[in-house]
């Protein structure tokens, strides 16, 4: 296999080196990863020059050694693991698209998806006997005539089990279990596969901990110095909502919750998944278990002729379960938007266009905000909702709060968080919060 030298998921490097030196390699890697948010092109240009100079091999080898030690560090701390996987995934994505030859790309495909799950188009045609197949001819035509097609792009076939996102979104032609598409369209799935494999390597790395004292000490030092990164993934945590009584401010609720609440108000009844969706959300914005028990007892039509004590014994179990007080005693999180789109309720996914338009323009906007909805923008949102519901939701946010968002809305609590800040319901507390708010302001 001709994997590129920068590719960190190769066979383990030679670890017969001085621990101090190894620690330095790890720090160099950390510095490189920390530079990524400031500008990926600069990192790629400065650290990974596009030449075949042999002297670079040693540098890339040191990078790989550094990355290897960081895996040991990540194995000791779940939040660091998340940060490392996300950042290394980003770097992989940049390097893959900017610094990889066609042959190397092909080998990366085989390495990440498994060689039995990848086929080139000629082999596929031969195996499937697709000469007569019209739609593959269409695909070929589409591939060769696509505007702006990159010259190094090529057709690839990957087994459907390796690229579930592409199957879900119908981003390739499926034939006999193989997803056929151009190389560029596989990049997102390739990045996911890279992150997944890196995660497996982090788990494996745990075996190396506790074997050598000096390595353990180095790992501990790096972990302490990387503590700031453990905060990175906490932006959707509910700690900031605690004790703020946000359940009485429906104006900060995301559209999915507003729709479910109004349905519940109208009918007094919701299906199980929708009840869960609301229940998780109320819990995370700070509603106590007792308040939530009273809420469901008072609003649900199923409770007519039922005493509160009886309700506590029956339906109360489910509500206490949400709070991790029953059953498996797990503190459940609010599902993210992609999960909501498939298993719960998202108006941008589940409402027919005409009803969605009505909901967005009349119901949602005028109920909690006296705004005049710009029809053309709403129409654009509705037309976008079919193919990209999260983008539609993100675009809807500024219509209500008159502020643009730099980030996509990918989680209901993210909407609630931004909304409550703009409404002045929660005050910025952390450094990372203020940076988000600045981004928002500058994008107006």
């Amino acid at each position: 296999m001709a994997l590129p030298d920068w590719f960190i998921l190769q066979s383990p490097p030679n670890l017969d080196i001085d621990v101090k030196q190894w620690k330095n390699f790890a720090w160099n890697r950390v510095k490189l990863l920390e530079q990524l948010p400031q500008g990926r092109s600069r990192v790629v240009r400065d650290h990974f020059p596009p030449t075949d100079d042999d002297s670079l091999n040693q540098i890339y080898n040191d990078y790989r050694l550094g990355a290897y030690l960081l895996r040991l560090v990540a194995a000791t701390n779940r939040r660091l693991e998340a940060w490392l996987i996300e950042t290394e995934g980003d770097l992989f994505e940049y390097l893959y698209s900017d610094r990889t030859t066609v042959n190397q790309k092909w080998d990366i495909f085989k390495s990440l998806f498994g060689s039995e799950n990848v086929m080139n188009y000629e082999e596929f045609k031969y195996k499937m006997d697709e000469k007569q197949n019209e739609y593959l001819a269409d695909l070929y035509h589409q591939f060769h005539s696509a505007r702006g097609r990159v010259t190094s792009d090529f057709l690839t076939c990957v087994h459907f089990t390796q690229v579930p996102w592409m199957v879900s979104n119908r981003r390739g032609y499926l034939r006999k279990g193989w997803v056929v598409s151009n190389e560029i369209s596989f990049r997102g799935s390739l990045k996911k596969a890279f992150e997944h494999k890196l995660q497996e390597e982090v788990v494996k790395a745990q075996d190396l901990l506790g074997v050598n004292e000096s390595i353990d000490q180095a790992v501990q030092e790096i972990e302490q110095n990387l503590a700031k990164h453990t905060q990175i993934r906490s932006q959707f945590s509910s700690a900031e909502f605690e004790g703020r009584d946000l359940q009485s401010h429906p104006e900060i609720f995301p559209p999915c919750m507003i729709h479910l609440f109004s349905e519940f108000e109208k009918t007094g009844r919701l299906i199980h998944a929708h009840r869960l969706q609301i229940g998780f959300f109320l819990k995370k914005i700070g509603m106590t278990v007792d308040d939530q028990l009273h809420y469901w007892f008072e609003k649900s039509v199923d409770n007519l002729n039922v005493t509160y004590e009886e309700f506590l014994r029956t339906s109360g179990y489910q509500i206490r379960h949400l709070y991790g007080l029953e059953g498996g005693k797990k503190d459940y999180a609010v599902p993210k938007c992609s999960t909501i789109a498939t298993s719960y309720f998202c108006p941008f996914v589940h409402l027919a266009p005409a009803i969605l338009f009505k909901f967005l323009s009349n119901n949602y906007l005028t109920r909690y905000k006296s705004l005049t909805p710009p029809e053309n923008r709403l129409e654009r949102i509705v037309s976008q909702s079919g193919s990209n519901p999260t983008a539609a939701c993100t675009e809807y946010f500024p219509i209500i709060f008159k502020k643009s968002l730099y980030r996509k809305i990918v989680h209901p609590l993210q909407w609630a968080r931004y909304a409550s800040k703009f409404e002045g319901l929660i005050v910025e507390q952390r450094e990372s919060d203020s940076s988000i708010s600045e981004e928002v302001e500058t994008n107006q």
């Binding site: 459907f160 089990t161 032609y173 079919g386």
Partner: protein
């Protein structure tokens, strides 16, 4: 039939008619002892986390205890028991299963048949199930390369499609969900649920969906359905006459002709919304799901969850199935 008689009927069925070999043809029993089973009793109690050493032990249990419902679950690293329930065990695999149930069509069934109430089933609304089987079966074979698909009557108002291909046994939840997403052209259960934008469907799949749906629609259409859709009464009469003339045979020219008429009144989505497959996705994606054991008895109806052979899937009529309780 009272409970004692029902118990006798169940015992008679499991001791004389129940044939385990029929199941082994499409369910992987190589790890039989570590597979989970579940049961509901005549008294309404439900038990899961049960496993059996051998198929004979299972049959003996069925004959002895005569459960009302029999369920089969996933395979684990160790036999599930009350002391070692499934959440403490490592999951090894579960057949890929698709559940098509008329419950999912309740919001649109009034456009297809005259059934009153959720429990009623007639041969007209069963066409919705037939159509779903048709499209899902063909798509799984052609697009996903599945070869071994068995359809089983659920015993009441639907069918289960069991995929015996190795790839279906070990795939995870995300991969199962991707199949559901691919096969689902409709998002949600409501009557006005959103239909997938046609331009986002790949040509072959779109053709398969539309061609099959319009074929089934025309085969089962009533004059009032055409009027409801917005056709003038003269066109509706013409279409009905033509269908009568062709004695239910829907050929390409009739389909093309109808397609053009539908395009004129822009009612593609309306027809698709009423007819496209609606899959109960939770059954497919839940890796630890208990499903009715094929060829067992559905406790409420007393009907056998029988395997539908490919040659007579589409002539199957659930209403004609006899119940062991009558």
């Amino acid at each position: 039939m009272n409970r004692v008689q029902q118990r006798t009927a169940l015992r008679d069925y499991y001791s004389t008619h129940f044939n385990f070999d029929d199941l082994a043809a499409f369910i992987n029993f190589s790890d039989f002892s570590t597979r989970e089973f579940g049961f509901a009793t005549l008294e309404g109690k439900f038990f899961r986390n049960i496993s059996f050493e051998t198929p004979k032990a299972l049959i003996d249990f069925l004959v002895d205890r005569t459960p009302y419902h029999v369920y089969i679950g996933a395979v684990y690293n160790d036999p599930p028991t009350r002391e070692n329930p499934i959440h403490t065990l490592e999951w090894f695999g579960h057949e890929l299963v698709f559940d098509i149930d008329l419950n999912e069509y309740d919001a649109v069934r009034q456009h297809v048949c005259n059934c009153q109430g959720a429990d009623q089933v007639c041969i007209r609304c069963w066409q919705l199930v037939n159509l779903a089987v048709h499209i899902i079966d063909e798509t799984l074979r052609l697009d996903f390369g599945m070869k071994d698909i068995t359809w089983v009557f659920s015993g009441r108002r639907g069918v289960h499609g069991w995929i015996a291909d190795d790839v279906g046994f070990t795939i995870n939840q995300e991969q199962r969900m991707s199949l559901i997403d691919y096969l689902s052209v409709i998002h949600g259960e409501a009557e006005k649920a959103r239909i997938q934008d046609r331009t986002k469907l790949k040509y072959d799949f779109r053709y398969r969906i539309e061609h099959t749906v319009f074929k089934y629609f025309l085969k089962n259409v009533r004059r009032k359905d055409l009027i409801d859709l917005g056709f003038s009464s003269s066109i509706a009469t013409n279409v009905m006459k033509q269908l009568e003339h062709q004695e239910g045979q829907i050929d390409e020219s009739l389909l093309r002709n109808f397609n053009l008429r539908i395009a004129k009144i822009n009612k593609y989505d309306e027809i698709l919304r009423r007819w496209v497959p609606r899959i109960d996705h939770k059954v497919t994606i839940d890796l630890r799901r208990l499903l009715r054991l094929p060829t067992s008895i559905h406790g409420k109806t007393g009907k056998i969850a029988q395997i539908l052979h490919p040659s007579d899937i589409f002539s199957f009529n659930p209403d004609e199935e006899s119940s062991i309780f009558t």
